[in-house]
């Protein structure tokens, strides 16, 4: 049985300066109620790893707007003008990473790989400071794995063991992030007794705590 905790217990699992991966793509598949709780807790100086900056009032955008994010690692911030403003005024460090590289860095972090070689970013600013390795006459960038202290994920259906399924396009970064952090908390839209083993997208072995979404 996986331990089910209350939203208010989140404060026991976060600290200032923490590195947190947050699932979701333009806030689709983001555990909104957990984000709202983090805003209430006022935990600060966070490093957030997420596909994008969300919107000013949705997804990790809410943490950014509340000034709780010291550093954002993302592929896109264009739909959150507040993120752009904080970045250009030097109030938030922002590392922009090609989306496929970000996904693979997280995958590598969770899969025990020391890094990987990608052609993406060759000949661009993404190449700066990175090792270029030539394999069979083609240049690749050596990209390093990404890990974090905590993953905050949004499961559509979670069973009592913690097995998780993500519906439709809410899946995105959630299952890879589940593998790449020291602690994993899943917000469950729906709790069920058992998920068909064939439909488990994140095996319960990765999940530490489940929080039931408040309707």
């Amino acid at each position: 049985m996986k331990e089910i905790i209350k939203l208010t217990a989140l404060k026991d699992h976060v600290f200032d300066g923490m590195r947190i991966m947050v699932g979701g793509f333009m806030a689709v598949g983001t555990p909104e109620q957990i984000i709202d709780e983090l805003v209430k807790i006022k935990v600060k100086d966070l490093t957030i790893i997420c596909n994008d900056a969300g919107f000013a009032d949705l997804g990790v955008g809410k943490l950014i707007a509340a000034g709780q994010v010291k550093k954002l690692i993302a592929s896109h911030i264009g739909l959150n003008p507040e993120a752009g403003r904080l970045m250009s005024e030097g109030l938030m460090e922002c590392v922009l990473v090609p989306q496929g590289t970000l996904a693979e860095q997280i995958r590598a972090g969770g899969a025990g790989l020391g890094g990987f070689l990608t052609p993406t970013g060759i000949g661009t600013v993404v190449e700066e400071g990175k090792q270029v390795i030539n394999i069979n006459d083609k240049d690749y960038l050596l990209e390093l794995p990404l890990r974090a202290d905590l993953a905050l994920l949004y499961g559509t259906t979670v069973d009592k063991y913690g097995n998780t399924n993500y519906t439709k396009t809410t899946r995105n970064f959630n299952p890879i992030m589940a593998t790449a952090t020291d602690k994993v908390i899943v917000l469950a839209r729906e709790m069920v007794d058992k998920i068909d083993p064939d439909n488990v997208m994140t095996p319960h072995i990765f999940v530490d705590y489940v929080i039931k979404e408040e309707k």
Binding site: F25, H76, Q99, A103, T120, G123, T124, T169
Partner: protein, 220 residues
């Protein structure tokens, strides 16, 4: 042609590059219009990099499912046979060369096939999203763009803005013509007869190699 007509004209010409069965990824903006111009006998599979293949049209009122979205976060639909996957698989599809064609817009594109589309330093910093992976990984990269921006050329000898990818663009389609990037330079292979060759050359900063270009066909 007004702005809307120009965009539709470009999209209609891009559509002719797509073959039945192609896996295609369309960028935001003008490229999304391409789907409106496919002949009825051409069925393509559209990928959305947030995690689906089989992208359908916008949902009808009352049929919106907030769990089905595109890479811009807008609600969309999934066609029969379509499916969902995670971001790592989505980019294995993209980087792994499984996408036949990607159609993207640009800020600048140059005669060596280099593309700038993701940042204007100090002004606009949206981020590259999936564009760098798409341009690097897709088998064919088509840039669909107006030929100029406020009268200034977008097709240059060398991009001055930070690149999205170097030497990856295969084709540029504008309201003035169709250009192909080859090893010896940028070829004007088709031109819109509404413009003279001189006008096209004048609107282009890049050196165009012009060798009997065909007229752009406007209608099937």
């Amino acid at each position: 042609m007004d702005k809307v007509q120009i965009k539709n004209f470009i999209a209609a010409r891009v559509a002719k590059e797509l073959k039945d069965g192609d896996l295609v990824n369309l960028g935001i903006g003008l490229p999304t219009l391409v789907g409106n111009f496919l002949p009825s006998n051409v069925h393509i599979n559209l990928q959305s990099e947030n995690g689906l293949v089989g992208l359908g049209p916008s949902p009808k009122e009352g049929e919106v499912d907030p769990d089905i979205t595109n890479a811009g976060g807008q609600v969309v639909t999934l066609l029969e046979g379509g499916m969902y996957f995670d971001s790592a698989l989505s980019f294995a599809i993209i980087r792994g060369g499984h996408v036949d064609v990607t159609v993207l817009g640009c800020l600048q594109v140059d005669q060596t096939g280099s593309l700038a589309s993701w940042i204007i330093p100090g002004k606009m910093v949206p981020g590259m999203g999936g564009a760098m992976d798409l341009v690097t990984g897709a088998k064919k990269v088509i840039i669909a763009t107006t030929h100029t921006n406020r009268g200034l050329p977008k097709i240059l000898k060398e991009c001055s803005l930070p690149l999205t990818a170097k030497n990856q663009v295969n084709m540029i389609i504008t309201e003035m013509g169709v250009m192909e990037v080859k090893s010896d330079g940028l070829h004007l292979i088709e031109y819109n007869p509404a413009y003279t060759i001189e006008e096209i050359v004048k609107a282009t900063d890049a050196t165009l190699i012009i060798n009997n270009p065909k007229e752009m066909e406007l209608e099937e």
